[in-house]
Symmetry: C2
Subunit: 336 residues, 2 copies
DNA sequence: TTGTATGCGTTATCAA
DNA sequence: TTGATAACGCATACAA
């Protein structure tokens, strides 16, 4: 339970009756130090359970070997997949991840960034909260030298690194799949209007419909605040239309879960009266007896990994990251 | 994209033509510094976008305001719930979370602990990997002064702080529920034998059966390595028995998902030919048309939060943590 | 091959 | 009320 203060280089030096600098060099395999001394030092360090003090090393190297990761909510599958991938990349790079969840709260987000700055992280990965404006980061970014890479929920700015999913490719596949099966009355249950992700879905939806020569019905586009109640209300709106849609693209699988439940309550039979495709492709559908028609995979792990790699390229001052990197992964429809 | 090096106290001092110590004191609202000076300093600090250097502060305070959290895998719902709760507690305490995932690999686990030591975290929370022995941590713990709290997957040691779920209460409820519905042929699909969690399940299973006056059938206890294949093999064993069980308690919900799928393949009808209860109570069942009979909730968020609170009590040197804390949360059957 | 001296940013102690 | 100085642990330029 108890224990002693961490061993320092000085203590090792005193014990060995040599100078601290020799110990330091020996521990770092400096070529100028004799093999014998090096061995003696390493042995003693081992015995005394020496662990280098990273916070002290920072002074010299100007590096903490940490990156900060800011995510809206860790318990969401998308983000837990993402952080899992990021941590793996970081660990392989001998970096440690500092974690912060914004809970979609701008103040909390700003607070976390400040904390990360205090800790002098070598870089920051951010998936923006749903309420954060594009410009909220501009002064934060301009005043700092810390490399930042956005992913998934990214700002609509050109002068930043960002990695995100192209929602439109999956949307085209979804609409095509619906039309192939004879659907013409296709609706969109979108997220909050303020969200960039929602705007993109709207645009993609309209474009995909246009590509099929279907004119968009305004009442077929509804919004949800992503709460259970909001999801049900959105579904309610569609169901109470005189000309009810037969196919729905929804914001994500979680929304769809609620939609399906609500549909069942109203006596609407899934994959018969109404068909669903949503974004996310969470691994839960394969266990359901009657899953929705499909889901659009956005590859959180691939996105996150790529974002982490770009961040490390920034940290390592790789040539190509002098210009802002914009990496887009096409989303992909997976039929169930 | 670019930017300057972080502002230091010295720079503020130079600009204001006062001494660094005055700046330091002003920024920390030291009572001896005049109001005017304090205001001037704070204004300048603001202008120059000063952020205190935590790594430097560490020298004086012997604190990094960080805790390390080691989990097997972040993408597992149990652990993503846990880390979410931990991060929330930490953030409220003005602490930052350093993250490491062991991927159930002992070496990786040891590596992460070493890294955390280098970073001089103020405390460590661990949920042990499935392959880690109880004694593997003993020397690590004895050589350090860093407070450590185990949770969920904890070692069978008395002299450590630990928070875990009592599997037996939920098991008793499960067996009782089965027996109430007329089941006598009850099986257990357990995890790897080496796992403490498995031993506990075995014991709880046998005790709960005994409480109902049912003698345990040896062939009704099988093991899986928790892979999809292992799960199917375990189910296969039970299904090929002459006297097939009608009720199964399984290691966790993920295992049960595979069991149900396999059962369907073999033409076994869920909740008719065979009934399932497992541990975890993941939020996916409520969306299934035909969910298993029940699931045993283990409250990952509550466990994790309690573990975090104990850790902070240790860090704050609260009286009661002088003796090892063992907190047990009863698990609870939730019928579907 | 090894030792000495210095500085990283901050704060506590002592002095003014 | 403020300033000068030392110290935290380590790495390195310079000296020996």
């Amino acid at each position: 339970m108890a224990g002693n203060k961490p061993t320092t280089i000085k203590e090792i030096a005193r014990k060995l009756k040599i100078s601290p600098s020799t110990v330091s060099r020996a521990l770092n395999d400096h070529p100028s130090i004799g093999l014998v001394t090096t061995m003696r030092v390493k042995k003693m360090a081992e015995e005394m359970a020496y662990e280098p003090n990273q916070t002290a090393i920072f002074f010299k190297q100007r590096k903490t070997f940490t990156i900060g990761v800011i995510l809206p909510k860790l318990s969401e599958p998308f983000f837990s997949e993402a952080i899992s991938a990021i941590e793996t990349v970081a660990e392989d790079k001998k970096y440690t991840v500092l974690l912060g969840q914004s809970l979609d709260n701008e103040n909390r987000e700003a607070q976390i960034i400040q904390t990360f700055k205090k800790h002098r992280v070598d870089g920051i990965l951010i998936s923006m909260g749903k309420n954060t404006g594009d410009t909220d980061f501009e002064d934060i970014l301009s005043k700092t030298e810390i490399p930042v890479v956005f992913f998934d929920c990214v700002p609509d700015l050109d002068n930043v690194h960002k990695v995100y999913s192209d929602l439109s490719s999956g949307m085209v596949e979804a609409i095509d799949a619906f039309v192939d099966r004879g659907h013409r009355k296709i609706a969109l249950i979108n997220g909050p209007e303020a969200l960039l992700a929602s705007k993109e879905r709207s645009e993609a939806f309209l474009n995909a419909l246009a590509k099929q020569g279907i004119s968009a019905e305004e009442s077929y586009i509804v919004h949800t605040d992503l709460t259970e109640q909001g999801n049900e209300e959105a579904m309610e709106k569609l169901c109470s239309l005189a000309d009810r849609p037969s196919a729905v693209v929804s914001f994500n699988d979680f929304v769809t879960l609620d939609l399906i439940r609500y549909a069942k309550q109203r006596g609407i039979i899934l994959n018969q009266d109404m068909f669903f495709i949503s974004y996310a492709n969470y691994p839960l559908w394969k266990y359901m007896d009657n899953p929705p028609m499909g889901s659009i995979e956005q590859y959180p792990d691939v996105q996150a990994q790529k974002a982490a790699e770009i961040l490390f390229d920034c940290i390592d001052k790789k040539e190509h990251v002098a210009t802002p990197q914009h990496v887009v992964f096409p989303s992909k429809l997976v039929l169930k």
